[in-house]
Amino acid sequence: MQYRATLWLRDSIRTIPKLQLRPTQRCRYATAIDSPELFDVVCVGGGPAGLSLVVGLRASKTTSNLKIALIESLDLDKGRMRNPSPDVYSNRCSSLTPASVRYLQEIGAWSHIDISRVQPYQEMQVWDGITGSRIAFDWEVNTRRDVQPSTIAYMIENQNLTTALQTYLEKLGDITVISPVRVDSIDLGNSTPELDLRSWPIISLSNGRRIGARLLIGADGANSPVRTFAGTTSRGWDYNRHGIVATLKLSGSGWGGEGYKIAYQRFLPTGPVAMLPLPGNMATLVWSTVPERAARLKSISKCDFLAMVNAAFRLSPVDLEYMHSVSSGQQEEFEWRVKHSAADSTKVPMEVVDVQDGSIASFPLKMRHADTYTGERVALVGDAAHTIHPLAGQGLNQGQGDVAALVSTIQAAVETGADIGSTLSLEAYNAKRYAENNAMLGVVDKLHKLYAVGSGPIVGLRSLGLKAVNEIRPLKKFFMKKAAGV
């Protein structure tokens, strides 16, 4: 399926005798120079979703003949992880579900991951910040007799994943990587006597290059230019919350030791605070809170920040509210107040003793869902299709699910000779993913809203619900399987 623009322009004139060329159109070499370079698949966005997609297509025998281009505005090569230090971790981490890992293994990408920087965890402690009701998710205790994966998920730096995918992509070869180059505009092509590109998206790049796509894939994030080109509306709302992330050092490797890591999440009325294990004594923080508190957390001293993180897992919402309101002195406040706290120290993460310099950052939290993932010659994956609250750690996994489904849709189209960009070929992808993502977005959104309530009957009911789920093992197993994607 390698096209040579000039070749078919020249030859097709001979093969369509019916089409009479007007003298003005006979200047065909001028047309050929202006013609965009054509690809079967053009993926905009070289993040985890875009990279997995092009690698997935290239690694599959069925789709390996497709002519593929990947466009990324940032310098992909500069973004690679090089000689990383074992005690320095990126603050952009994700929790990869076993389903996502299985897909990465299937396409052959997982073996390129720096596994020493990946931390599987076997237990998850989730509790209500107001009532203290707890639910412990752990495969061992509840499914001792079943053959179940003992790992709930794998913590990984996004950069570790994208570096592995790039290494693998280079090894596979034959993908045109265009980076760092911006997309200036996307328009539909023209019709010439030789070729009708009026349904083909033509991408004009910041380096002056023009490329046409049989299928244009938007893996270009929440503000997707591809989605805008497709005219697809993305609906949702802002949570008026910011997510604070940071790379932390704990006093030890965790209560379960190196071989049994635990993730912690406490639902506070302003949003959940989560601490997820990284190798050794390291951990990553995701704390969603109101923008004013997020701003203060970023501005206070290191000692006060550490005190706030430790307090977030130990003190009552009333104590926390006070500590958020003062501009300094959180460390002293915490030391005094924690003595009177009833928190069982083994049921909360080990004490945070340090935070990696420059790792504290924040981002606004949103919920968005595109009305559809497909159009003629367009498909959206990952954040371009949906943005989710990070409380369940599903964002990147949803993107991997999209990629797996889109790759299999394209495979089916190639096997039956369909045009991979046609609406009919792409319908199956939308059908496979839309409802599933919508359900996940809905559940996570409701969870956020449920736990944002600080007092009243709902607080009692949700604690009852959490306790009930904790007691009813089949139900708990069901939730765990959903979260693991198995």
């Binding site: 078919w8 369509i16 070729l195 009026r198 089916a412 039956t416 000779g417 369909a418 045009d419």
Partner: protein, 267 residues
Amino acid sequence: MLQSVRYFSNARSQNHQSSVDPTEISHFNMLASSWWDPHGPSRLLHLMNPLRHEFIARCLSSQSDPATNSRLQYLDIGCGGGIFAESATRLPNTASVTAIDASPGVLAVAESHKRRDPLLMSPGRLRYLNTPIEKLPKPASEAEKYDIITMFEVIEHIKHPASFLSSAIPHLKPGGWVILSTIARTWTSWITTKVVAEDIARIVPRGTHDWNKYINEDELSTWFLQQGGWESPRSVGVIYVPAVGWREVPGSEKLGNYFFGIRKLPV
């Protein structure tokens, strides 16, 4: 049955120029503009297309001897807007596709749609001819013959199917396959294609089908085997399940839509 025997005899039509009914041609000319609309009247044909390829692949893999060719040449008779012809051209093991149709209107649509795909435009891959099979020049040598002759949803629109098939057969290589799909003439097919599809659900325009022209699968295989020189007839029924799509249902070839394949004996 009586009716079908009448339609399906060799006796008549040797003097006919074309087996295609002129009213059928005008009907399909009318459909031309919406042929490639994924939500238009041809949606069911589009959805059926992948199953055609699966059926062909199964026919080919059922051969004990190797295929006539590693890169296949197709003749698609009654190609319409080119749904099958385009897809067959894109397959990696296709050398070329010649697609013919008697209706100039739909063929213009096919030609115009072909221009949307540079792959189809590469020389020698896909050729459309506005001709009935009777007027397609007979092959001068074995090399000009085809490995696969397809007629999808065609024979039920033909006045004289026997003479139609007789005109097609000389174009097939020994060891090649005739593959077709059509609708069995049963009370269920009358209800689904005439009453439900055309009148109630309006999935296809009224007048698309003439139930009296439907041919049953056993009539087809009997006709071929009586001619001599044919082997391995196979068929499978397909049923359209709303919201799911087309599904193969073994045994349903006796009820409605079905695929039929038969192989010319290799030399």
